[in-house]
């Protein structure tokens, strides 16, 4: 019955990665191909903190997103900034190259195999829900992701900061005329999106092993989910991510051969019926 536990916690991770991707895309029109690499680096940061500094999981949950988010902000300042005004395809290719660099470096030093990361002892064991056993850690992942996803949505849609951000996407010149430092906001937004990926990486570390390839494996699925949900809708991405995770988990139980392809098949069907995605507006 563990499979059902799997079926409802992986989707949360997708949701988490998606929201970072959706924030970066929606606000900055950058398809962040390096998102999977940052997710992987988040997990590695947790591992390093434990091995080298003796800082436990809870510290990692705080420090890893901060550190990786800072790296993201630097990347934006050094590289992505220069591509503003060019075809968005160039920033996609740039982040693709960055993903290769990060992944290559980690693979070089840590090989392709996984490093173990233990579940924190406060979150061991399982709840008996009557119809199934839910491991406590997976329950925690669901809770933490839901809070972070909802919080991000709230900030972007309901706060003044979010309003500035949305305005800057529509018309950066006008927003600058009001005295808002748009370039800094862009850098911070990218850093924040990357930090969300790192947070998901720390959450994933005890579930999957910490591997250099962990991000590359997941990124194509995340893209498919984005296409199904429709771009530009943050809430849509979360809902789709959750639903598809459940579908994938259930396929794993009933017809394991198709579990890897089911998301892509659904994507093809959705494209046939609604080319803009389930929640997307036509573009």
């Amino acid at each position: 019955m563990n499979v059902f536990g799997h079926a409802i916690s992986m989707p949360q991770l997708y949701g988490q990665l998606l929201i970072g991707l959706a924030v970066i895309f929606g606000m900055l029109t950058i398809v962040n191909f390096a998102h999977g690499a940052f997710y992987m680096m988040g997990a590695f940061a947790a591992y390093f903190l434990l091995q080298w500094a003796g800082l436990n999981y809870w510290w990692a949950l705080l420090l890893s997103p901060l550190a990786i988010g800072a790296i993201g902000a630097i990347v934006e300042r050094l590289f992505l900034k220069r591509l503003a005004g060019f075809d968005p395809l160039y920033s996609l290719l740039l982040t693709f190259g960055l993903a290769l660099i990060f992944q290559g470096l980690f693979q070089n030093y840590f090989g392709a195999s996984g490093l173990p990361y233990a579940i924190p002892k406060q979150l061991g064991g399982a709840y008996n829900l009557g119809f199934m056993f839910l491991p406590v850690y997976r329950g925690w992942v669901i809770l933490a992701s839901a809070v972070v996803c909802f919080g991000t949505w709230l900030v972007i849609e309901k706060t003044k900061l979010g309003a500035y951000l949305r305005a800057a996407t529509e018309n950066p010149t006008m927003v600058r005329a009001f005295g808002i430092n748009v370039p800094r906001m862009v850098t911070l937004t990218y850093g924040f999106g990357v930090a969300l990926a790192a947070f998901a990486g720390v959450l994933a570390a005890p579930i999957n092993q910490v591997r250099p390839g962990m991000g590359a494996d997941i990124i194509a699925v995340v893209f498919a989910v984005v296409v199904i949900g429709g771009m530009g809708s943050i809430l849509g991405s979360i809902v789709t991510g959750f639903l598809l995770g459940v579908v994938e988990g259930l396929t794993k139980v009933f017809y394991p051969e198709a579990s890897n392809t089911v998301v892509f098949v659904i994507m093809a069907i959705v494209l046939l019926i609604r080319p803009a995605g389930l929640f997307g507006r036509a573009y």
Partner: protein, 322 residues
């Protein structure tokens, strides 16, 4: 357009044609000399990748469609060709033809679904489809999963020409490469190619002139898939195997790199780029994963400061189009 400008325009195109013809002659001469200088097997592989990059360039360079899943066409054709030659015992030319047909069909189906989206959406959809094909190749029984299809017979082309002789095989591969290269060039220079370029520049305007731009893009996508398939199928005969490497996402990335390094939207760029990338992999193979890191650095450098690529830069300096 004033008459003067018109005259100078035809002038430039005459110069371009001459430069193109000279470059083509140089390329043919190099292909002919190469096996005496370098390891022929390496050159044959490089030619297959060069053809693959030409197919990719047809989309990105002339229709502004970034396909990030082109490995699916290379890999699928390679599997189909290897299976046809080994299990069904077909002679190489028909086996390759079957591979091309398979990739063209895949291109038609995935293209029909993806083509309605543009730019980055199109790119993401192609990523997802190629991942689907990858998982299909992992699971399907005829591909033998991780083992791949090994010991593919080279056989006799059309029942007459013995391809197990290295020299014959080289001529065969070089002929296929030149055929594919000229097919891409002919397509781009045809009226069909002109409309593709017009779509690249201003799609709404082309539609307002009464062209069905989606059908043009779909045709280009299918053609590109077929030529990528030709490269993959030929590669299966050359290397005598078909493996998962050719379907991976990394392969889709490599073809982007080749085209970017050589120069997008130039005829000779993808060929030069493929040669650079393949040599890089070959000579740096001892450094293991550093190859990936170096590829990433080249990628980033190209995007930031060298967007025209080697051939594009040369052509811009000499004010010709290659």
């Amino acid at each position: 357009m004033s008459l003067d400008a018109f005259a100078s325009a035809t002038d430039t195109s005459a110069r371009d044609r001459r430069a193109g013809a000279i470059a083509f002659a140089v390329m043919v001469a190099l292909v002919a000399v190469a096996p005496f200088v370098a390891y022929p097997f390496f050159i044959m592989q490089a030619l297959c990748f060069a053809l693959f990059a030409c197919a990719f360039n047809l989309l990105i360079g002339y229709a502004n469609l970034l396909s990030l899943g082109h490995a699916m066409f290379l890999g699928l054709a390679s599997y189909v060709c290897a299976h046809a030659a080994k299990v069904w015992g077909l002679e190489p030319v028909s086996a390759i033809a079957l591979g091309v047909v398979a990739s063209a069909l895949l291109g038609l189906v995935t293209g029909a679904l993806a083509i309605r989206s543009i730019g980055i959406y199109f790119a993401m959809i192609t990523v997802a489809f190629s991942q689907m094909v990858y998982f299909f190749c992992v699971e399907a029984p005829f591909t033998h999963g991780e083992d791949g299809i090994q010991a593919v017979p080279q056989g006799r082309a059309l029942g007459l020409i013995d391809l197990s002789r290295p020299a014959t095989l080289y001529v065969f591969v070089a002929a296929i490469f030149l055929f594919g290269f000229l097919a891409v060039q002919r397509t781009v220079n045809s009226p069909f190619g002109e409309i593709l370029k017009a779509i690249r520049e201003n799609e709404p305007r082309v539609m307002s002139l009464g062209y069905r731009s989606l059908q043009y893009k779909l045709a280009a996508f299918t053609l590109s898939a077929a030529i990528a398939g030709l490269a993959g199928a030929t590669k299966a005969i050359v290397a005598q195997n078909a493996s998962l490497t050719d379907v991976t996402f990394a392969m889709s990335g490599e073809v982007v790199l080749m085209t970017l390094v050589g120069g997008m939207g130039t005829f000779f760029g993808p060929v030069v780029g493929a040669l650079i990338v393949v040599s890089m992999q070959n000579y740096l193979a001892q450094y293991g994963e550093w190859v990936t890191v170096i590829q990433g650095v080249v990628f980033v450098a190209c995007v930031l400061v060298f967007r025209r690529g080697v051939v594009g830069e040369l052509a811009a300096r000499a004010r010709i189009s290659l």
